[in-house]
Symmetry: C2
Subunit: 338 residues, 2 copies
C-alpha cells in the first residue's frame, strides 16, 4: 500500500520507559478527570458520593512471568493483586475488574482455566467483581491486561503529589523480598550452587495493602502515597516529581527481612541494593507530617510501618545516606520496562 | 522448577473463541454488577444517578491491523472508535478511556507518538477523556488494549437480552463495507488483477453510533441492541442467545452499498455473504416492537434504519430467507478470533 508510515529510526528501547511516558503525557492534558495520568490510578468524578478510581496494568509472558516458573493460578492471582495495590495506593478499595487476554492459538485450554481460577480467587479475596472477559488471538506471548476500578470517599483520596519538605517518608512491610526471589529463580536456572532451602517454585503473591491504606486514608494521615511496584529507587522519584520535592533515604533504616539479607549474602550483593532496585514488593511508600507519625503507627496496627527518610525542598534530588554517614545521589535504577 | 504446570494438550485453537468464552462464563457468576460478562459492556451501579458502563477490547498487530496497511494514527482512532461503539450499543455515551500498550523494544517512537495522536483525536471527537496510559515491553506483536467507561441513565440502558418473539430486527447504516475493504487489501497483496479505483491504503474508521443510539434509548424504543463487530451472522446469535429467541433474516432486505455490491462482483462473491460474515461494520443491530417502528425511524433522523427480519420463538434458530423464498439455516460464520 502507498500510505505505509514513514517513521524515524529511534525506538522505544532507545529512549526508555520513563522518557516515553513523559513524551506521551503531553497528549493527556484537558480531560475532565480529577486526576488523569501520573498517579497510581486515575481519579474520576462520575456523579456519585465517592470518587471512582481506575487503573490498568498488563502482564506479558517472558517479561512479567515465565510459564515454566509459575502455576497459571499464581499468575492470575498476581495480575489482580498488583492492580488492587494501585487502588490501595490511592486510599481506596477495589470494586470491579475487567480482564483482557491475548492468547496464542496453541495455548492450552487448561492454562486459561487455571489462570481464571487464580484471577477469580484473588478477586474474591479482595472484594473485586470481575465483569469483563475479552479474549483475542495473538501470534506472540500471552498478555494479561487487567483494568481495575475502585472507590474512595472524596475527602480521603491520597495522591502522589502532596508531600511537603519536612514530612517523613515511611514504608509498610519489608523491601527486597520479591527481588530476592527473582534472583533465586534466575540463579537456579544457571545451575549456580545455591542453598536448597532458598529454592522457590513459585512467584510470590503480593498482599495488596488495602486495609491499612484505608485506615490511614480515612484518618487523612498520608500526605502522599504510592505503591512500590518498580522498586524504591525508581518509585521515590515518582513521588518527588509529583510533589516537587526531594528526598533523603537512610540505608540503615530500610526494613529488610532476615531471609532477604541471607539471600543477598549468598548472591554476593548488598541487602540494600535488593531493597532499593528491586520491584514488585507492592508495599506502600508514604509521606507523613511528623506530627501525624504516632497516629499513623496506631492506625497501621499490626502492619509494620518504618520511617526510612525525609522529604526535602531540593526538587528531584534523592540522597542516600549510608550507615557510615556518607552521602551519595541515588541512581534511578528502578525497574524500567525497556 | 518442580512446580511446572501439568496441562492437557487441548488448545484454545481446538475449541474456538465462543466455546472458550462460554467455558469462562462459569467463573463470572456472583459479582455485584447489574450486568457482568455477556453484553457489549458491563453495567455497574457505583452509587451515582447513572449506571457506569465498562468494556475492554484489545487490538493485536497482525490480527486486527498490519503495520504496512495503516497509518498509526488510524490504528489509534479505530481502537477508540470500536470501544466507543460498545458503549453506544448499551444506549450510553462514553466518558473515559484507559489505554494499555505492549510494545517491542524495536518499535519506533514515532509509531507510538502517531498512535497516541490517533487515540486522542478520536477520544476528543467522541467526548472521551483518556486517563490512563500503561506501557509495557513485549517480545511479540504490538498490543493495544483500550478500556472504555461510559454512562447511561438507569432507565435507559439497553441490553442484548430484551428481544421478544414478534419484534422486528433492524440495523443502522449499511453492512459488509469493512469486509469489502479487507478483501481488497488481501487481494492487492496477492497481485490479483483488481480495479484500481477500489485500492484503499487505509483501514476504514468506524463512526460509533452514539448519537442515534442515545436518541433511541432515551425514548426507550429498542428492546435489545448490540453492535456488529463480528458480523451479522455471528452477532445475531449473541442477541438470540441472550434473549432466548430465534431470528429470521431476509436476504433482500440487507442494506448493502452499491460500492460493496460492485466490489463483491469483482471478487466473485455474493454481496449478501459480505454483509453476513464480515465484521467491523460497527453498525447497531436492534429489536423493536413493531408498534415502535415509526417512532424509531423518526428518532433515527438522518441515520438509515433498515428492517432486516423478525424475532421468533424458536430458541437459537437463525433462518435466512433468500429472494427466491428458499429458507436455510444461517451458519454462525462470524469473525472468530481463533
Amino acid at each position: 500500500m502507498s500510505d505505509a508510515p514513514e517513521l524515524t529510526t529511534q525506538t522505544v528501547e532507545d529512549i526508555g520507559e520513563f522518557e516515553l511516558i513523559e513524551r506521551l503525557a503531553r497528549f493527556f492534558s484537558g480531560s475532565a478527570a480529577v486526576v488523569g495520568v501520573g498517579d497510581d490510578a486515575a481519579v474520576l468524578d462520575l456523579g456519585g458520593a465517592d470518587y471512582v478510581l481506575a487503573s490498568v496494568d498488563m502482564m506479558v509472558q517472558d517479561v512479567h512471568f515465565e510459564l515454566r516458573d509459575a502455576d497459571p493460578g499464581i499468575i492470575g492471582r498476581r495480575a489482580i493483586a498488583s492492580n488492587v495495590s494501585d487502588i490501595a495506593a490511592m486510599g481506596g478499595e477495589p470494586t470491579f475488574a475487567l480482564t483482557s487476554l491475548a492468547l496464542p492459538g496453541t495455548c492450552p485450554v487448561d492454562f486459561v482455566d487455571r489462570l481464571y481460577e487464580g484471577l477469580i480467587h484473588e478477586a474474591r479475596l479482595t472484594g473485586t467483581g470481575i465483569v469483563g472477559g475479552n479474549i483475542t488471538r495473538t501470534s506472540g506471548p500471552i498478555c494479561i491486561d487487567v483494568t481495575i476500578l475502585g472507590r474512595v470517599p472524596k475527602a480521603e483520596v491520597v495522591l502522589r503529589s502532596g508531600a511537603r519538605p519536612g514530612d517523613v517518608l515511611a514504608v509498610t512491610g519489608t523491601l527486597g523480598g520479591a527481588t530476592a526471589d527473582r534472583l533465586i529463580r534466575l540463579s537456579s536456572r544457571e545451575d549456580k550452587p545455591f542453598r536448597a532451602s532458598w529454592t522457590t517454585g513459585q512467584y510470590p503473591i503480593p498482599i495488596p495493602r488495602v486495609a491499612v491504606a484505608r485506615r490511614l486514608a480515612e484518618r487523612r494521615l498520608p500526605q502522599a502515597m504510592l505503591d512500590l511496584s518498580d522498586g524504591l529507587a525508581g518509585d521515590i522519584r515518582h513521588l518527588c516529581r509529583a510533589s516537587k520535592v526531594g528526598a533523603v533515604i537512610y540505608e540503615d533504616r530500610l526494613p529488610i527481612s532476615s531471609r532477604t539479607r541471607a539471600i543477598a549474602e549468598d548472591l554476593g550483593v548488598t541487602p540494600v541494593s535488593l531493597a532499593l532496585s528491586g520491584g514488585e514488593d507492592y508495599e506502600l511508600l508514604m509521606a507523613f507530617s511528623s506530627d501525624d507519625l504516632a497516629a499513623a503507627h496506631e492506625a497501621a496496627g499490626d502492619v509494620p510501618l518504618t520511617v526510612i527518610g525525609d522529604v526535602v525542598a531540593a526538587i528531584g534530588a534523592v540522597t542516600l545516606v549510608a550507615e557510615s554517614g556518607d552521602h551519595r545521589e541515588l541512581p534511578p535504577s528502578g525497574w524500567s520496562h525497556f
